[in-house]
């Protein structure tokens, strides 16, 4: 025998073994590989589920309706649950918890996160509420919430949090290999709009089903949209999960005992459930709940199951300013979950369906297969309404505390969480510093001119930024101080009976903000966007800026403080019968005591008509203005009746709306003539219908009347009118007298007439230019120029300066 390398012997033995086992080995090896690969594939997803009864003792208050007045529960109709799914794709693990509560209040979430310790990061705990209005309360400490959620019972908060933790541990401990499928389909009309019968409704229902390797259901997660507010009557004070409770029962029956069904409510802010076959009461509750389960189950039958890749995105976002600062946090946790091609956006409140639908559109445009909105997740900031619904005097609008721009804020935030970008990412251009400089005031001190251009929001933002300090000061003196000192409290109300050591200002401001929403009615979206920008630029909540705009109305309803006096003015139009031409001469003095800064603002919006406005720093309404199509509008206050808050937008905003959108005289006159809710004003309107110039005064007294020129002279007030102040009568009599005896032929002479100063005398309001006069504006309607003169320190009018407005072309 040759000496062999010792190593060769084992090798040969190996070769012998391989040869001997070659056929079987290959088989075994292939089987081993198959098993290994299968194991690797199914080990990628693990899931577990659990449900724990969280029903507290009878006698604990319920949460959901203010008219329960925080009283105790009296019975249990059906139990309340904490239902948890644990999911782990090998890289991302999280808990998704659904609670039979009206909302996840901050105290509960905070306690759950404090108590939880485990392998899942705390920021991966998603708590949602089904929004049943028959869940328990007793867990909110904030005083303002307790009239809805009942007295604060720390023991109930603690017990609920502990049970949620228990469900999480149980779900985690029960985790196993799983496969997941999802689907969306039609909810067959089970969601309806609760505010407007023909309004938009959610038509989608979404299902995620998780099965284990044996095909047994671990959990079924259903996203359906509709307020669970169907329990009432004798059971008003009973604990119940509402229709989700019947969904659970039905789904457990359909999917098997191992299944833990979860219910995630959608963008349900203005949605409720239908009444199948006209059912009502518990019949309706049960019918809807079971039908939701049946639809979801049917959808799940056609799903394909497989692995899942999760992407959980989270941001802690700074919220827009709000008047309800005692009620709302400054920042909020927002979450977005992607399950393969399904995107789920978690709203910390109650979004209206419009917002959910719009966000879905954006998500689908980015290539997601499906999108769910899940409301009442991880916090409760009340309602989110779309901008268009903000001015409505209804519950959802009142309960929206972040302004009409909240809609866009939500889109922006959720889109930033989406991992899929659009093909071309557009960057929104806000006016940069350079652009802001061009918004600076032009002209000398006697003719302050501010040019604003860009989108409506940008114009507002620039204006708000430029006048930031003045607006802030005015807000303090005209809004905050009167509220803080109780001037705006209704006389004899409980507000006035409260002890002085209580600070009621935050509550009062919130209430006032809610109450002023309806005054936005009639304003276009672009005008509202402009004011959103202005609020942002001025550093105020939207509702705060809006309160400032009509602060004087609040004050006049109770108080004659000169701080909130209204403009008495002189307005005049001289038509062809007087001038002998086709043109119209227009002039007005604005008489208004105050320390505001007068400004001429040139508005060059991207949408709407360019215009020139003469007004004040803080005031976004219109006092005097001329637009590109030569519609001229100005107003004068004439007290006929006691001042009351209007039902819709105050007059100066109606005029601002017209200036931005209206081209013809008759069209604007028609709108003004229909504004029956306006009182105590006269509006001078002049403009063109085709080639013909015309002018009129719309008088808002006890009723609306329209007055035309008499022998070519049209004054803001007819001196023969009954019930007008004597000074107003004298002023206009003097004006008419002068016009008759010393006819004016051009705007210069009109301007001279309007600004002749009687400083030898007392300067009282009976004079055309008086101690309250702020500025004078004269123009010839056919010419693209306005002339303005401003009050000087000595009280007299300064020289007229002419502004040629190139955007407003000459009218041939």
């Amino acid at each position: 025998m040759k000496n062999r390398c010792p190593l060769s012997i084992p090798f040969r033995l190996f070769r012998l073994k391989v040869n001997f086992l070659s056929r079987g080995t290959a088989l075994y090896f292939a089987a081993f590989l198959f098993i290994l690969l299968s194991a690797v594939q199914s080990w990628a997803l693990e899931a577990g589920s659990a449900k724990i009864d969280i029903t507290p003792p009878v006698g604990t208050p319920l949460n959901g309706y203010g008219d329960r007045m925080g009283r105790n529960s009296t019975s249990v109709h059906d139990p309340l649950w904490a239902r948890t799914v644990f999911l782990d794709d090998g890289e991302t693990r999280f808990f998704l918890v659904s609670l039979d509560l009206v909302a996840v209040n901050p105290e509960l979430r905070q306690r759950v996160l404090e108590l939880y310790s485990g392998p899942v990061p705390k920021e991966h705990v998603l708590l949602t509420a089904t929004h049943t209005h028959n869940g328990h309360g007793g867990m909110c400490q904030k005083l303002m919430i307790r009239n809805v959620s009942g007295r604060f019972i720390p023991a109930v908060l603690e017990a609920t949090a502990e049970k949620i933790i228990e469900s999480m541990h149980k779900a985690y401990n029960g985790r196993r290999r799983a496969a997941l499928g999802y689907a969306v389909g039609s909810n067959q009309g089970l969601s309806v709009n609760r505010r407007f019968s023909a309004g938009p409704a959610e038509s989608q229902i979404g299902v995620v089903k998780i099965e284990d390797s044996d095909g047994a259901a671990i959990a079924v997660i259903t996203n359906f949209t509709g307020h669970p507010t169907s329990v009432g009557g004798q059971d008003k004070y009973s604990f119940s999960a509402d229709y989700p409770g019947y969904y659970y029962l039905e789904m457990e029956a359909l999917a098997g005992e191992s299944c833990v069904p979860l219910f995630l409510n959608g963008a349900q802010g203005n949605q409720t459930i239908a009444a199948p076959k006209g059912k009502s009461g518990w019949d309706r509750t049960e019918a809807v709940g079971r039908q939701v389960a049946q639809i979801a189950d049917a959808l799940s039958k056609n799903m394909s199951f497989g692995d899942a890749v999760f992407k959980l995105s989270h941001t802690k976002a700074l919220l827009p300013l709000t008047l309800a600062e005692n009620l709302q946090p400054k920042e909020v946790d927002l979450y977005s979950l992607e399950i393969n091609d399904l995107l789920i956006s978690f709203f910390p409140g109650e979004p209206c369906v419009e917002i959910g639908l719009n966000l879905r559109e954006r998500a689908l445009a980015r290539g997601y297969d499906a999108h769910w909105s899940v409301g009442l997740a991880n916090d409760y900031l009340m309602y989110f309404v779309p901008r268009a619904l903000y001015p409505f005097a209804n519950y959802e609008s009142f309960m929206n505390f972040f302004g009409p721009g909240m809609e866009d804020w939500l889109y922006s935030q959720f889109e930033s969480l989406m991992s899929r970008k659009t093909l071309v990412e557009s960057i929104v251009d806000l006016p940069d510093e350079e652009a802001q400089e061009s918004q600076q005031s032009e002209g000398d001190a006697s003719f302050p001119l501010l040019t604003l251009h860009g989108s409506s929001h940008d114009i507002g933002l620039a204006r708000g930024s430029f006048f930031h300090n003045a607006i802030q000061n005015k807000y303090k003196t005209k809004v905050l101080d009167p509220v803080d000192t109780g001037q705006w409290y209704p006389t004899g109300s409980w507000w006035t009976a409260m002890p002085s050591f209580l600070n009621l200002t935050p509550l009062a401001m919130t209430a006032l903000g809610m109450g002023s929403r309806s005054l936005l009615q009639g304003l276009s979206e672009s005008y509202i966007r402009e004011m959103e920008g202005m609020a942002e630029g001025a550093g105020l909540p939207f509702d705060g800026l809006w309160l400032l705009q009509h602060a004087r109305l609040y004050s006049l309803a109770k108080d004659q403080s000169s701080l909130f006096s209204l403009p008495l003015c002189t307005m005049v139009a001289l038509t062809n019968e007087y001038t002998g031409t086709k043109d119209i001469l227009l002039g007005r003095n604005l008489d208004w005591k105050g320390d505001e800064n007068d400004y001429v603002i040139r508005m060059l919006p991207e949408e709407g008509l360019p215009s020139i406005q003469v007004g004040f720093d803080w005031n976004a309404g219109l006092m005097t203005g001329l637009n590109r199509d030569r519609l001229f509008l100005c107003l004068e206050y004439v007290p006929y009746v006691d001042t009351v808050l209007p039902e819709k937008a105050p007059l100066e905003f109606l005029l601002g709306q017209l200036l931005r959108s209206c081209s013809s005289f008759s069209e604007a006159l028609k709108v003004l003539s229909a504004a029956e809710y306006i009182k105590n004003y006269h509006v001078l309107i002049a403009g063109y219908d085709g080639e013909k110039a015309d002018a009129a005064v719309v008088e808002y007294g006890q009723s609306i009347s329209v007055r035309k020129a008499v022998k070519g002279i049209l004054t803001g007030v007819n001196p023969d009118t009954q019930g007008i102040p004597d000074e107003t009568r004298e002023r206009y009599q003097a004006l008419i007298e002068t016009l008759k005896n010393q006819p004016v032929k051009n705007r210069e002479s009109l301007g001279t007439l309007l600004t002749a100063s009687p400083m030898e005398s007392d300067g009282g309001m009976q004079h055309i230019w008086n101690h309250a006069s702020r500025h004078c504006v004269v123009l010839q309607l056919s010419q693209p120029e306005i002339m303005c003169a401003f009050k000087q320190p000595d009280g007299k009018a300064g020289s007229f300066a002419t502004l040629t407005v190139s955007e407003i072309s000459s009218h041939e």
Partner: protein, 545 residues
């Protein structure tokens, strides 16, 4: 009147031979002896006119304070833990600071200047310049004054023989008459006292009575109607004595109301208090037990006559003959309240038991009883129907438990915001909390009597009151509704107040009030601790800086 000394001449007369001089120095010694005698006479022999203290005190002075041994009393005050409880920035603290500050004379001198009574008086509170202090001096005090007057700090003024002295730096005038030291910041006041005709001086028996009271206490103070400058004056006269017991300072007050007050409110005061007794006060943080001297409806009728504002209350206590059918919640409530009112006798109790800070709004826990016949209330309980059920309106109808004789009115929130009314053997009981009323119904104090002759009892437990208020106020602070405070700034402020108030355990008043006079005994129970002593030392040291 001037000090005068009778001199006896030691010189010889024509009929008497002169005493022979001794050639051994005896005349020199004799002269020294004479000088010593003269000096002794000058120092020690009292004035010819032995006027008493009261002869210097004007009867027109409406405020008088009598204190024996003021130096000792001052030391006791320094040790008293009550000093610690008074907030620094108050007028009371300022006055105490004056008393406890370092004095311009050494303690041993102060201890030895005055023997017996120290009397302070003033015309009225608007005339501080009329302040007059009189004390009887010891011999050492007299001697000290002599030396003091010879120091450069004192200027003298004959003032028509009155021998006035002025402490130059302190702008204080004083005079020594016999053994009495009279001090005032006003020269005129001092002169007035020194020249006071007897008929304008305070009455001797009045003075002696006050002296006796001052001996029995640590301080006695008397005020007459003129002292009270407000119009109309509240009292005709008022006196109080103070005992500075370390753990339980006491105040005994006696007085009578002014004629103006009696004319207006006299009918509200008990006329005959001979057999007055009180129900045992409820054991609340604050508690009041009164015997009105007349059943509550009668008393209220008199109150309504004196004050127009009570008309609004009257509609709620007018008892109608029967309940209307389908009576509303308001009508039922009014009927129960009126029944309770008309069942009430003379003895009324009210108490406050703290707050439930976690209720829908922080709820004060209040209760009260009215002793009397309860037939009307029993009848009312029988008439009130069970509350209806409504699924769309909140129901405020009262609910009666006939077995327990308890009526509850569902309000907002839970049991501690559920006004309740109950019947017990001696009368009726009401509370703002159902939980509280059920507890009180089991309490023995409900039917007990105080066992002392009195018609007014009140107590307040300040430390406990503050500890009860803090959680309630904190709820407002936590919700941003407490003016000027966040939750953390309020916690800081509350802790500071707690420390200051923690030793004030209870303030109690017991007494008899009638239209003729009133007598009240008040005491303050202070929680003693080492800290209290240390605090007292710190306060004293602070005063001496």
């Amino acid at each position: 009147m001037s000090n005068s000394v009778q001199l006896t001449s030691w010189g010889g007369t024509a009929s008497k031979p002169k005493i022979q001089r001794s050639s051994s120095g005896k005349p020199f010694l004799f002269i020294i002896f004479v000088l010593i005698v003269l000096a002794s006479v000058w120092f020690f022999i009292p004035a010819r006119h032995a006027a008493e203290m009261e002869s210097f005190i004007p009867a027109s002075h409406s405020i008088e304070v009598y204190v024996y041994d003021p130096a000792t009393k001052r030391n006791e005050l320094l040790k008293s833990p009550i000093l610690h409880t008074i907030p620094e920035d108050t007028a009371a603290a300022a006055y105490l600071h004056l008393l406890t500050r370092k004095l311009p004379v050494p303690d041993w001198l102060l201890n030895n200047v005055s023997s017996g009574l120290f009397h302070i008086s003033v015309e009225d509170s608007n005339r501080p310049d009329s302040l007059l202090v009189i004390t009887r001096m010891t011999r050492i005090g007299l001697l000290s004054e002599k030396f003091f007057s010879l120091s450069g700090n004192v200027s003298r003024e004959r003032a028509g023989g009155l021998d006035l002295k002025k402490v130059i730096n302190a702008e204080i005038f004083y005079s020594v008459r016999n053994k009495y030291l009279l001090v005032s910041s006003s020269r005129d006041a001092l002169i007035q006292a020194l020249t006071l005709p007897p008929e304008e001086a305070i009455e001797k028996n009045k003075f002696e009575a006050a002296q006796q009271k001052a001996k029995e206490a640590d301080l006695f103070c008397r005020l007459d109607g003129k002292a009270f400058l407000q119009s109309p004056a509240l009292f005709k006269d008022l006196s109080f004595s103070v005992r500075l017991n370390q753990s339980m300072p006491r105040l005994s007050i006696t007085g009578s109301f002014s004629d103006e007050i009696l004319a207006r409110y006299g009918t509200l005061l008990p006329q005959n208090t001979k057999d007055d007794s009180l129900d045992m006060p409820l054991d609340g943080i604050a508690s009041l037990s009164v015997n009105l001297g007349a059943p509550l409806p009668q008393w209220y009728a008199k109150l309504a006559e004196t004050n127009e504002g009570w008309e609004k209350v009257s509609s709620w206590i007018t008892l109608s003959e029967s309940l209307p059918e389908n009576a509303s919640a308001t009508e039922l409530l009014q009927y129960l309240i009126a029944s309770f009112f008309h069942s009430s006798g003379e003895k009324i109790r009210l108490a406050w038991f703290g707050f439930d800070p976690l209720e829908v709004v922080p709820a004060p826990l209040l209760a009260g009883t009215a002793q009397g016949k309860t037939d009307a209330l029993h009848a009312a309980f029988d008439l009130v129907p069970p509350p209806p059920f409504s699924d769309d309106m909140i129901v405020l109808n009262p609910s009666v438990n006939s077995e327990l004789l308890l009526a509850t009115v569902p309000f907002i929130g839970g049991e501690n915001l559920t006004p309740s009314l109950a019947i017990y053997p001696q009368g009726a009981l009401f509370a703002t909390s159902e939980t509280l009323i059920r507890k009180l119904m089991q309490s023995e104090a409900l039917t007990a009597q105080l066992g002392q002759k009195a018609n007014l009892y009140f107590h307040l437990r300040p430390a406990q009151a503050w500890e009860a208020a803090v959680p309630a106020l904190n709820e407002f602070a936590a919700s941003g509704l407490l003016r000027g405070h966040t939750e953390s700034s309020f916690a800081e402020a509350a802790t500071k107040i707690s420390k200051q108030i923690s030793t004030l355990q209870e303030f109690t008043v017991l007494g008899i009030v009638s239209d003729k006079a009133f007598h009240l005994e008040a005491k303050v129970t202070i929680g003693l601790s080492d800290q209290a002593d240390n605090n007292a030392i710190q306060i004293a040291q602070r005063g001496q800086r």
